[in-house]
Symmetry: C2
Subunit: 281 residues, 2 copies
Amino acid sequence: MDASTTESHPFDRAMALAPQTPAPGADGMLRLDGRTSADYANMVGPYGGITAAQALQAVLLHPARLGEPVAFTGNFAAALADGDFCVDVQPARTNRSTQHWLVTTRQAGAVVFTATVVTARRRDTWGATDARMPTAPPPDELPPMPPLPHPRWLARYDMRWIEGAMPRTWDGTEHPDSLTRLWVRDAPPRRLDFPGLLALCDVFYPRVWLRRATLTPIGTVSFTVYFHAGAEDLAVVGTGHLLAEARAQRFHQGYFDQSGALWRRDRTLLATTHQLVYYRE
Amino acid sequence: MDASTTESHPFDRAMALAPQTPAPGADGMLRLDGRTSADYANMVGPYGGITAAQALQAVLLHPARLGEPVAFTGNFAAALADGDFCVDVQPARTNRSTQHWLVTTRQAGAVVFTATVVTARRRDTWGATDARMPTAPPPDELPPMPPLPHPRWLARYDMRWIEGAMPRTWDGTEHPDSLTRLWVRDAPPRRLDFPGLLALCDVFYPRVWLRRATLTPIGTVSFTVYFHAGAEDLAVVGTGHLLAEARAQRFHQGYFDQSGALWRRDRTLLATTHQLVYYRE
């Protein structure tokens, strides 16, 4: 049986959010209940890509939503605890073809995550891709990353390293650059959709670990995804691998940035993604 | 007289926000009144970099603010009209060394701009810069862009093109890439600070205009800046030029992205910046 066609995929279970009321309030606010997923557990709390995808999912579930997501920025305000959370989602402004959303995720009344999302109705226009997809051997010619018992979310992605794999020894040897390239898809395979693609954009292990071969504590503080594809473009992927790459630009006084891109095998750029990450030393 | 040492600089006048109450409310919310600046007028309404800088300024003026800005994302929900606006600024979460802010700018009660801002106390850590500043002739060897009467905000920046200047003729000739490099500073010169740097991050004219030599209508929908520098690093700039560069990655169905970087002359990376921009055809 193809796991991608059932509702039993761990990702879909993680995306299950239950509206507290049948309809949004007068201000458009809808509150949904969710629960962190043990399948996507990180060192502490859940994998950040899942927390972000849940915020996007809340927007997608809102009955007044217009169009498809084009821009997402989420801010990790505090480490999530394993357990229940609620998501408040509200349209801040609705225009003719675009809509601006505010999302706030809380645990025990305290804000743990905030996001702003732009959705839009796309139209055909002139188009071009200036970025170039790197050449790489096809995913079936590369070995999958061996399963690691911990953290659990790693087992939810099939990763095939092309360049910049996780260091094997944490001996403090400086790596000359911070570039990682890999083929990646959900494990078990799952048909790509917007929440799935958003979560994949956070799949890169911390650039500072690669650069320094040192396991310094880290935490993403802000995470942005620009979608360059509509639902039909994602459907073409099916359950196939994406080529994903990311690199840092500067590490300075406790914060580094990371910029990445995710490509379909036919060289279509699906998303670009950026984040700012805290590191301790 | 050095305009940078007076309070009469147009940028400082644009940043003037008046709190409606002497202190924030019980929820930490502070409301400030502002007015768009004719000095920074764009084709319609104000230059987007100024609207974003005003949102950051509201955070900097909040009495409970902790540390310096590290990440900023602003969403342009609607075209601002010339005239009054108010900014609501509220800390969503305050941690030991980081703070998460929500900012909403309204005109006549309607949301026109939203932002999330992360501020943090920085500490000395290991550091490195992976991105490379391009080589370029010094700014004094390049001619400033000739003054254009319209839009007015262009006269507020001293721009010296290195590569990818604004097309001279709008004849639809496709340009092979979307890269622009320039030296830039405020005009008249002004000492660099966080709002000033944020506004500079929006200084690139639309990549789609360069790529196509066609004046299609455009509008930034989401704008992110990561600060890689503290106030002391900005102070070193004084009123000097920054090297700024930006390029697009994909233009698709009405939206393109842009990634950029701003450098101090001594090759210190001060900020990286990203935006998603709507274009009409």
